[in-house]
Every structure is written in structure tokens, then in C-alpha cells.
Symmetry: C2
Subunit: 206 residues, 2 copies
DNA sequence: GTCTATAATTAGATAGAC
DNA sequence: GTCTATCTAATTATAGAC
């Protein structure tokens, strides 16, 4: 170790990971804005300051890049929603506030979700079975427990997930519309705070 | 009148309007599913049982077709939300139930809105100024009045519109996901009813 | 690993016969 | 108004020099 070959391998490896990461970052923006079909690998590469064929080098295909993007987004959700509360009401309140904060910080996930969830597809099936169902099951179990404890308002479990995510995310997913229509910046900390407070009031009993 | 030329003109006119309507119907589905850039005029024409150049004949361009689609969708919203209630609480309850019913019947509008509202564009600006702002202004004026009357729950006016639409529409915009994940059909009358009931409970005081 | 060149396919739009 | 054929430009992916 320490010879030229090792140094070169290390250097190349590091550089490769950097480009790979930049391509994922760029793809998140493009896929969220234009959808999978509407995004071009050239635009992704340009945004990542890379060349278009590097996508096929670092990933198997445009589709493989999309899967890598989703894996990354889901890691980020989990970091945002990480929860060490033990009391049940504090936990759900923490979750609701986390949902709003994440929607504001990363509107791209909700945008991508709507693009993909609009029609059945292999990508949607993979997304549901790999990433969504485990998280959904946890959420629903918690919601039912909260309903029984009288903490949650009267929202049927099979509707709760999408009502809550819809109310938490549209303001941020549609941020460009909101800014032009209403004149507020949805990602402003004060707006996020007011939004989270409102969500807690709406979905939890006093 | 009544001569061959007139008959032919009449026949052609009727046929032309029919094709034009079918192209708009088809474009609604395609634009909602794949976004503007992701939709191909060939796919739209195929779905309308027409030929691809007929789009450029009946509309100036793919973009002109998109504008015609939005005009049509907005006409449909207004029909769905048409309201002859006079009492203020009955009016907002009618509106909320109408929002849910429309989202279920025509998930395409909400899908298109998210596609377009994700990034600034000429299309988004036109959509806001032509169609959204007048309806938004009416909604907000009503919401403020309701807040003062103590009928509406404590949701700030600048958040109310997107919270309500988000909660009303995501379940239906993401219907394919919901069916696979939860196993319910969001457009089922019983589900729509339960969804509307829940929305009224969430956003209005008892 | 990068980057130029390019192959193969598909896109939106148009020409012109009917 | 319709429909075939086609133009130009853009797309994903690959070949091969470096």
C-alpha cells in the first residue's frame, strides 16, 4: 500500500463517488421537475457538471439512476423523521412536524411521488413494496393506537396517511405556484412553523 | 343553404369538433400521467383514434393543445363546485364535499397542477393569472369570513387553500398507489363519502 | 474514469396528395 | 379535414481513443 497504483485507485474511487453523488443530486431536481420521461440524461449530466455518457457508466441506465435517486430520497426521509420520543402524543406530534419540515426542505420527493403514483408501472410497484409499505405499516399501526387513546382526531386509518401527507406537502410541492399566487415563501422557517402548528391542531385533539 | 356545399361544411364542422374534443380528452389523460414534456403528440393522437398531424391542424401546437386542455378542466371544476347554498356554513361544507368529489372524478387536474406548479414557467404563470387567482381570491374571502364567524377551524388563510386541496386530492391523484398499497379504490362512492365527511370534520368546527 | 463521436430511436412539426 | 411521408432536432445508449 502507499504505492502509485493504490493512490491512483483511491483517488479514482473518491472521484468516482463524487461524480456519482453529483449525478444523483442533479437527477433529483430533474426527475422532480419534469418526471421520468420528461427528464433528459443530457440535462441531468449538465446540471451535475458531467458528460451525458457518464450516466451510463456510473449507472446501468436512466432507469437505474432513478432507482438510486429513490433510495437516496428515502434515506433522507428516515433521517428527517428519526424519532426518540417515547410518549405517544409527543411521538406523533414530532412525526407531523417532521413531515412538514421534510416537505419544505425536500419538495422533490413529493413531486416525484405524484409523478410516479399517477399510473401503474414497474417503478411504482418497486417503490411501494421496497420503500413505502414498511413505512406505511408503521404509520398506520401508530395511528390506530392513537385513535384508541383518543389523541388522534376521527380520521379513518385507510385515509389518514394520504390526508396528512397531502396537507403537509402540497404547499411545498407547489412552491413556485404558491410564491406567485400568494406571495409567501413556503420554505421560510416562520411559514414552516405555522404550517406544522396548524397540522398538529388539525389532526390531534387538544 | 341545404346545397351540397353547406351539407358538407356542416358535416365537416361537426366531425372537426368531434375530433377536437377527442384530442382534448386524450391529452388530459396523457398530460396528467406523463407531464407536458413527457407526453408525445403521437400517444395523444393514438389515444384519440386520430393521426398525429391532426394535432397541429386542430391546434396550433402541442402547447396550444395544453392550454385548451386547461380551459376545459377549469370549466369542469366550476360545474362541480357550482353552489346555490346561501347559509355560510352550508356553502363551505358544499364546497369541501365538491372538492373531494371532483378530485375523485377528475384526478387529472390535480396531477397536471403538480406537474406544472413544480417549476416556474410561462404555462404556470398563464394558469395562475387566468384561472387560479380569481378562484383563489373567492376562496380566501370566504375563508376569512368563516374564521370570523367561528365556523372554520384555526387555519391561516395563506395556508388554507393548499392544505385543503392537498388533503382532498392526494388520495385520488395517487389512486394507483393507494389501490396497490392500501387495497381500497379511492373513487368508490363510499370512500368518497367517508373522505368528504372526514374533511368536513377536520376543517370545520362542530 | 473521462470525453468525443456517433449509432439508433423518437420527438414535434410540415408538405402535399387526396 | 384526413393521412402518408418526411424533415429537423432531440433523445438514450454505445464505441473507442485517451
Amino acid at each position: 500500500m502507499g504505492d502509485d497504483a493504490t493512490a491512483k485507485r483511491r483517488g479514482s474511487y473518491k472521484s468516482s463517488e463524487l461524480v456519482r453523488g453529483r449525478l444523483i443530486d442533479a437527477a433529483i431536481i430533474e426527475f422532480a421537475t419534469h418526471g421520468f420521461e420528461g427528464s433528459s440524461t443530457r440535462a441531468i449530466a449538465r446540471r451535475a457538471d458531467a458528460h451525458q455518457p457518464q450516466i451510463n457508466y456510473h449507472f446501468e441506465s436512466k432507469e437505474a439512476l432513478w432507482y438510486a435517486v429513490m433510495d437516496r430520497m428515502m434515506e433522507e426521509v428516515d433521517e428527517h423523521l428519526d424519532n426518540d420520543e417515547t410518549e405517544i402524543k409527543a411521538m406523533i406530534e414530532h412525526l407531523i412536524r417532521g413531515l412538514v419540515r421534510f416537505a419544505a426542505a425536500r419538495p422533490e420527493l413529493n413531486r416525484m411521488m405524484i409523478h410516479e403514483a399517477s399510473a401503474p408501472s414497474q417503478r411504482l410497484t418497486w417503490l411501494i413494496e421496497t420503500h413505502i409499505r414498511p413505512r406505511y405499516d408503521l404509520f398506520i399501526a401508530g395511528w390506530i393506537e392513537l385513535r384508541e387513546a383518543g389523541v388522534a382526531r376521527d380520521v379513518p386509518p385507510e385515509l389518514a396517511y394520504h390526508l396528512m401527507i397531502g396537507a403537509a406537502s402540497l404547499l411545498h410541492a407547489n412552491a413556485p405556484e404558491v410564491e406567485q399566487l400568494i406571495g409567501i415563501t413556503p420554505s421560510d422557517p416562520a411559514t414552516v412553523q405555522a404550517h406544522a402548528d396548524t397540522m398538529v391542531r388539525l389532526f390531534l385533539n387538544d
